[in-house]
Amino acid sequence: MLLIGLLFGIGFGFFVQRAGLCFSQGFASLIMGKGKRILTIWFIILIVTSIGFLLLGLKPIGQIRGAGFFNILSGIIFGAGIALSGGCVLGTLRQLGEGNLFYLIVWISFIPGMWLVVKVLDPMLLKNYNVQNILIPQLLSIPAGYVTGTICVIALFGLLIVNKKK
């Protein structure tokens, strides 16, 4: 199974490298008003993956902790980290593979952060917050196809707008 995982990883890495995918750099270009590339990439991934996952069956990813408070907080901390280092997780691995050793230091520096949470914070926090796994269709009590359909229509319009010839 590990070998299969490695092969999938190699495939992902190849596509990520050839697409030049990095959400951190993508966000930076979005803020500077040059987001055509990252938006095109994201909309394509969103449309294909959303339809594929819907057809194969949806499954919650991650956990909602503390009624969502810790998800937003961890998102903010993570966002600050990727903006500071200049590479999202995909971007960090990609640029490391391309030979940029700055991202080796970023990658190794994950260790103290993860250690702090797993060994110090989690033992305190886990007792106090509830953990949930919910999908949007369950939360809103509507069929999953409607939600995926809406996302795909928005992504499709987005794709057309960002690639509209001036």
């Binding site: 050839r18 991934i45 030979g99 060994k119």
Partner: protein
């Protein structure tokens, strides 16, 4: 052939198809955050984090193959003045990916398509964090 493999939207399409194919074939999906926990000795139930970690090691290898094949591999040493950004940024990423499982940029490529509420919440937080730090760094 070179043009095909350098057209970013075709490669993004390939990534998305592989993402779906992985879920279809082995019922696992691309995850980012928790997959690094083996670096601190946490393997998860049935070694699930170890599997995800191996996928991520494969990403480095795949990226190396892509870069090397198209003459884009270049060994670059980090500049001393930027090291603090690597260390602090990396540590913050480490906190972010573990404080709430599912928080990672992979939220954008798996969590949101999976309609997972936690990924939408994490993504909202990521936008705020990125926007705040970029504004601070550019001003």
């Amino acid at each position: 052939m070179r043009k095909f493999f350098s057209t970013y939207w075709i490669m993004a399409f390939g990534f998305a198809v592989l993402n779906v194919f992985m879920y279809m074939s082995i019922k696992k999906f691309w995850i980012g955050g928790s997959s690094f926990l083996p670096m601190i000795g946490v393997m998860g139930d049935n070694n699930k984090f170890l599997f995800a970690f191996v996928v991520n090691l494969g990403v480095i290898l795949g990226s190396f193959i892509g870069a090397k094949s198209f003459g884009e591999f270049k060994l670059r040493m980090p500049a001393g003045k930027d090291l603090w950004k690597a260390v602090l940024g990396g540590a913050l990423i480490g906190v972010g990916v573990t404080l709430a499982p599912g928080t990672c940029t992979t939220s954008f490529v798996t969590g949101i398509p999976m309609l997972s509420v936690s990924s939408f919440l994490s993504a909202a937080g990521i936008f705020v964090g990125v926007f705040t730090v970029y504004n601070w760094m550019t001003n």
